[in-house]
């Protein structure tokens, strides 16, 4: 596929491949991701939880678009900036916030660092912080689906920086050999922490890497949620039918630092301002308003409704306790092997 830098043409529902309600749901997930992300940033600044926070504001379309429409048993293999995938997969908001707060209601019971979202019931694998880790493990899930003859798929998310790691290449190489049911989403946000994409690879379009592995690679506008969804949905369908993987590179941008402790002063203010003009949420809104599906009052009502949902979920987490410290001894092994406990 030589297709590159597509942009959505004149809006029509047919082109989107979604019903009016479907498009509304897609947008709602996008908006919810934005509002939740901004709230979590604020709560960090207010000192409501420990560690740090990895904001995905600016690049929400890259996770919401591909995740929308997946089945519960389909696997999400995320990195740490995929809050949109959890929201769209239907992970309850108090579970997402509980993970960031490291409280008892977090699926990992407070063992993992903030933004390492996981939720078994919706197929979201809690990531390790070692980059490309979930690309490799996710490829293994796809291998498993193929061996089990299931028609489930895996969607693996990573940044352009992760594609420099050796294991990333081993995984894509293997997926190409066996035509595994996986879609690789490369969120090229131009910066791997502070290292620009130009120092990450000698190519401009990271989708070109797919050529080496014998499956299609496409580069698209990652701030167009409709295009993100449509492109990913086609690739997912292809994967489900046993036709193998696709690498989708989405050009996007994170508005804030790598995490909340990073002022991102390695970037030019102008670069940020230009990307803010391409805000994926505003673009989706314009698209929907042009279609006549969304109006300003409808949008305001939706914002209010989501804010209330977030308020309620934050309240739950504020009241939730941490686990007892002795919980540290659990989940090392199955119950077959209790760990040794020294007393001091």
């Amino acid at each position: 596929m030589a297709e590159k830098k597509q942009t959505a043409k004149k809006p029509s529902l047919k082109q989107v491949g979604l019903s009016e309600q479907g498009l509304m749901d897609l947008y709602t997930n996008l908006l919810k991701t934005r509002l939740l992300d901004e709230r979590l940033r604020k709560l960090f600044r207010q000192g409501r939880y420990a560690g740090t926070y990895f904001s995905a504001v600016g690049q929400e379309a890259t996770t919401v678009g591909p995740t929308y429409g997946l089945r519960d048993e389909d696997i999400i293999a995320p990195s740490h900036r995929e809050i949109g995938a959890s929201v769209t997969k239907g992970v309850p908001l108090d579970v997402i916030i509980g993970q960031v707060y490291a409280r008892r209601n977090s699926p990992d019971k407070g063992k993992s660092h903030p933004c390492h979202y996981g939720y078994r019931a919706r197929g979201v694998i809690t990531p390790a912080s070692t980059l490309a880790g979930q690309t490799i493990v996710g490829t293994g899930c796809a291998m498993g689906f193929k061996i089990l003859k299931k028609d489930n798929v895996v969607v693996a998310f990573f940044g352009e920086g992760s594609t420099s790691r050796g294991g990333w290449h081993e995984a894509l190489n293997y997926a190409g050999i066996h035509k595994l049911p996986i879609v690789y989403i490369c969120q090229n946000n131009l910066w791997a922490e502070s290292v620009p994409a130009t120092l990450q690879a000698g190519i401009r379009d990271f989708a070109d890497r797919a050529k080496a592995y014998g499956f299609p690679g496409v580069t698209i506008d990652g701030n167009d949620v409709v295009l993100m969804h449509r492109t990913a949905a086609e690739a997912i369908e292809r994967a489900r039918k046993g036709k193998g993987p696709t690498l989708i590179e989405c050009k996007t941008y994170r508005w804030y630092g790598h995490s909340e402790i990073d002022p991102a002063d390695y970037r030019q203010a102008e670069e940020l301002e230009n990307w803010k003009k391409k805000d994926p949420v505003l673009r989706a809104e314009k698209f929907m308003m042009d279609l006549g599906i969304l109006t300003t009052p409808k949008r305001e009502a939706l914002v209010e409704q989501i804010d209330q949902e977030i308020d309620a979920a934050v309240q739950v987490c504020e009241k939730e306790k941490y686990v007892e410290p002795e919980e540290a001894y659990n989940d090392v092994y199955s119950e077959d092997f209790p760990v040794w406990r020294d007393e001091y």
């Binding site: 990992d108 019971k109 078994r120 293994g140 689906f145 294991g167 090392v332 092994y333 092997f337």
Partner: protein, 327 residues
Amino acid sequence: MKKVTYIEAITQALYEEMERDEKVFLIGQDIGLYGGVFKATKGLMDRFGAERVIDAPISEVYIAGGSVGAALVGLKPVAEIQFADFITPSMDQIIQQMAKMRYRTGGSWTCPMTIRVCCGGEVGGGLYHSQINEQWFFSQPGLIVVLPSTPYDAKGLLKSAIRGNDPVIYFEHKRLYRSVKEEIPDEDFTVPIGKAAIRKEGKDITLVAYGLMCQKTMEAIETLEKDGISCEFIDMRTLRPWDRETILESVKKTSRAVLVQENSKTGGVMAEVSATITEEVFDYLDAPISRVCGLDVPMLPFAPPMEHFFLPNAEKIVRVVKKVMEY
């Protein structure tokens, strides 16, 4: 009862577990068409097909990490790392994914799986076909680490590993593949993980070893017993979680201990065993604990005289035991 070699016992375990549970599959380099570089997987591709006996590309990262993923969706992967020397690229996946999956997900995701690792010296393998590297995995919470020394244990521990609920690094010693043979039951059996085997009871001194060093220790014991030293010998079999109770009880009885390890001394398994004996039963000791280990140099220099010089053997063990007895 039939006499089988250590490697035949491994092949049998794989065959029987694949017959028993269709979720078990194998992945590794040269394991399919070729049947493994040492023939441990001989005939398995013919019987179970290329979907369950997968010839992997030269990708140790993927072999380990991909197996973790397959385990997450319900399969029981048995991966093979052809030589322990080549396991280093897999370390990221073994340590960060396999060992920590249960922990970092609060138990919501688990990856029961086995990685078979062919290891060990005294085969003329030189620097890159002789390593064991068990100490790296031994020090990693979340992993089970085993290293059998007999065909019976090789089969029984591999079955326990495959049937278990935890990730296991299953070391198999290539020097033992065809040099040990014993009768094992025809019927299905397993060997429990986490339990050492008292190979010989005695009252004067406790000797502890695992893997190839069990043979060397037994050889030394023959000489020592002739000289009137009654030796108790424990084969650890499982390195993590190691059987503290069996070893500590034995040392309480004999009051002396010599620990034998093929790998280099510093930071090795026996350093931990030694420290634990000192912490827990110091009052029972009549002499300092001694270790007989491989040299503290890269394992294993190639030229035969250097290889021999590196490795612990019966003579070295006898000398150290006598010194401890004379203390």
